[in-house]
Symmetry: D2
Subunit: 332 residues, 4 copies
């Protein structure tokens, strides 16, 4: 089966495509039987040191959306927006009802949120392929009601620091609007062409081993302008299922996009749900970022003609979590 | 009043001390009437670029504790440990009960936690002084039940990247154990002596304008060995209230410790609660980190004879939060 | 000012109306300075014994909506629908991953929900009138971030048992559809006429001292048929602000409706928000039920030509809560 | 095997005992293949009408503990105490920061709690026996991460109204203290003797078909006096595993106790966990109440020489829940 040409996909048979792609791109065993990190193994100290050397100005951009009730979630699989409540307030403190001495007052707060509600990393326990988790483990041996007992996001706490590269597919393919239309499947050829185009001013867009690849579609820009609508779970541009081999051969450490679901939606089969996730997470061991805000970064990169930077995106080490909210920082 | 000599503190009158220290060290208006950042203003792009240049090896250490039910909280002011629950699991996926096509399965999860429960930043809305918040605003104008309407932690999303310096007071003052005893008040003289001692192999321990200062007491090491006990809220070594002037004159951007409460406990007055917080946060505009894990970092610094590094500690941009959990990364 | 004729309301001046009605119907001090119960004082043991004697068949109807993510909330003032998650599941138990002996398995679960999200009682601390709470206390002395320190819902734990009377205004006024149109303000005259009409077969619809009055508008029936839409917070039939005097003179112990907000919406002033709440809760001390499901009860009452029953509607005694979810039971 | 004599239990083999008792007392199929209610089927309208007729005085007692952070939970299987937080407060309202017109102010609140944290009903999906749930269903077909898809507590919303009978074993067996010692296993003989003793003044303690049986051990009285200690999960008096047959032959509809775990702890085998649950819930279909406060009720019954009453204990109809907090009301 030709796995790389979008035109040759048999839309009626996602299972066959997924099975063959999973087999072709699988990384099981590559980093040992006990591995918990997948492609994050591809970033080592040397890669990080080189990435730090990319910092020229010290300018920092946060790639996180706001975490609050005004987020995109509409209840899909019980995902809600974050609920932030106060345990103590300044109104209480000012009124003197808190019971503290010498005029000190305090405010505390609480958050309740799905770990997948906003800007996030999908951990390796987030997706399974036919009952199997990353590295060939049975899904039920890895993630129970007690959480991810093997590949919990806490294992990545000190890992996600490296060279970030932004590919602004929105601007590359739609120079006028900067926004891809819903359902547009970004292909490997698109990625290569974007790299070539952006690299007109240097090699800063090249994507290779251990890199943290950021792909901007413009979907979030539209949601900002038009309201969330179906941003969470609805139609969107995104990576084609056929880019799995490209991601595998470049050996990127992680990929993130400005969309809810990373891959194109509707998916490229008649009846399907996130087939690229199914290939990439449990088979390749690829960590995926979703709902990142890449707009300000795209502008900053464009202004500088430079698309690489130090990316520091530490998950919260929540024991056994299958993902984590994150405030990724690009340092230029 | 002599504010700097711990021996001269009138233990019976915290209010007088606090009032005079607040007046002496206050930064209100220093960064304009609309300021939301306080001493974080002291880190600019140039400082960040210099900090990035400190990276030599690319080695990363996470300074976060684990976020889970096994944390230190015992219910003080309704602070609980994080509760992490699953919305979908691998056992469900493996059994085929999730209703997805082509063999894909998924796991989602949820967290509920006080923002002050584990490794954290205290935002500027966290503490008030006699009804006033940072920059001279009334507490009730800043933090209501809707959260911090002015100085919410989201404003710091792209700020906390800079030069970190670790002062290992535990090892400096107690070379045998590396752990200060409960109630030990670290003085300005202690800080200076530690800098001098650590700088035997270079100037890497110097503390100055815009730095992110980390102070290790050894309190967490003991909790690891003996169990949490009263780690959250009980006795501990910590900074003396008399270090407020030192912190102000060095113009540090932020300070963090490995203790629950940053300052020495019991506090240095007969009846008191966190007087240094009351001086530092609303008056100086100082961002404070608590419950950081500095043990591995201390060992790494000692081995290298080098106590400075790039520190990247991005809060989650939770709109209106008075603090944030954080996974701070030291990059050596 | 004529407070009772809806036609004479000055729509431009809600404040004047509210002030006068509050003064006219106020119950402050009626049950002593320390009172925590308001009109719930009107139900005594004798009333409860008489109410129990109304039970003839032993037939029970639950008047609660379902508590789940499919509820009506759309985020108004951070009210969400209930989020129910599992701590342990049958899939885990069946797979044998729970670590229990001799084949026992278990499932546990967690709920997170606003207390005002679904079928509920509004406690006396839920609404304030110009900074004052029930019985003439200052709002800030009653409800702080620590909850309702005086009139918390826990004080009503053993109180809400009594004679329930259903007035089906929907069926009375709109016999064809059984549903009042949005914005219809139910007047005192409507209530009296409904009582008269329903009492054709007996006196079972009479409303008097200590009764628990249930008013059906048909709004929930429509939401069931058409979807929630703006059920939570949007337009609806409901009680006119002018019924305050009627409720006060009948000395009902509590009132509940099948609508989100008890009173008509939009409210009967040009710019207003829930003026009847403002009069009834802090001034009269009236406990109010909202989002009750009265449809099956209406049918059962109609079939029997009998509109009174034993009503048992115990709140959860959540310490300091300003309201409570409830599963009210009508026992016929 | 003799299942009824505690002295003959083989402490080394809980599995054999449980298997035989499960077989002996199983109710699978008794109420049809689709049954969701188990022994709650044993209460019909006639039973409820008779129970209502037990009301003489109209006196109501709440049998619920308080729901708050001061509860007994210590983290076992991630069970926490309820966390109650405010979304709006009286301090805010009084200060005028809420943005409402004409002086209305409001307070809202939120609860997050395990459904098993305090006074509760265990639903039929709460416990499994060797992978099987109530009525012979596979555990994984019943309770997934989506909750209890078959026997969720919502199906009992209009069921739990009936004749309550209190057996005060604490007072019966330990007249001086009213409190059984930890580890005391209440036997069928104890239950019969208590009925006989309490019925000295009438037949009001008889236990039969469709009754709601309440068993007081005095464990909560002690916790009130001494502090929670190990109330949640630790040693306690409780029903002997050998009472399963007694409960089955009396055909009680439900049973509740004043202890954390209903049955005696430590359990009556060398290595075991809640064997009576394993027999009673999935096999008999018995709904079990735990952590009820029976102290005031015991006193009231003793004073009256009358141990029966109308019991109304409606769970919150949380869709798919395996249990529910409850405020049970005894109406005398």
């Amino acid at each position: 089966m030709n796995l790389e040409d979008p035109a040759l996909i048999d839309r009626s048979d996602p299972a066959a495509y997924i099975a063959e792609a999973a087999e072709a791109y699988r990384n099981w065993g590559r980093w040992g039987e006990d591995d918990r990190l997948g492609t994050l193994n591809l970033i080592g100290d040397a890669e990080r040191a080189r990435a730090a050397a990319l910092v020229r100005e010290g300018r920092v951009l946060s790639l996180a959306q706001s975490f609050d009730m005004d987020g995109p979630q509409r209840g899909w699989r019980r995902r809600t927006n974050p609920v932030h409540t106060m345990l103590d307030t300044g109104t209480d403190a000012e009124r003197g009802t808190q019971g503290f001495p010498h005029g000190i007052g305090g405010a505390d707060d609480v958050i309740a949120m799905p770990l997948q509600c906003s800007t996030q990393w999908d951990g390796l326990g987030h997706i399974f392929d036919r009952g199997m988790a990353w590295n060939g483990r049975r899904a039920g041996d890895v993630v129970t009601s007690d959480g991810d007992l093997v590949t919990g996001i806490e294992h990545t706490a000190d890992r996600i620091v490296g060279r970030g590269v932004l590919l602004d597919l929105g601007a590359h393919l739609r120079p006028q609007t900067g926004e891809l239309e819903d359902g547009y499947a970004i292909t490997s050829a698109d990625l290569d062409a974007c790299i070539a185009a952006q690299s007109g001013t240097g090699a800063s867009s090249a994507v290779g081993r251990g890199d943290l690849l950021l792909v901007r579609t413009g979907r979030l820009s539209r949601a900002r302008r038009e309201g969330w609508g179906e941003y969470a779970g609805g139609p969107s541009a995104g990576l084609s299922v056929t880019t799995a081999g490209w991601l595998r051969s470049r050996d990127v450490a992680a990929v993130a996009t400005d969309t809810w679901g990373f891959e194109v939606r509707p998916n490229e089969f008649d009846v399907a749900f996130q087939p690229l996730h199914q290939i990439a997470i449990p088979n390749m061991g690829l960590t995926i970022g979703e709902m990142w805000d890449l707009d300000a970064l795209a502008q900053a990169c464009r202004e500088r003609g430079r698309w690489e930077f130090l990316l520091v995106a530490p998950p919260l080490p929540i024991t056994g979590a299958v993902g984590s909210p994150v405030n990724p920082l690009a340092i230029l």
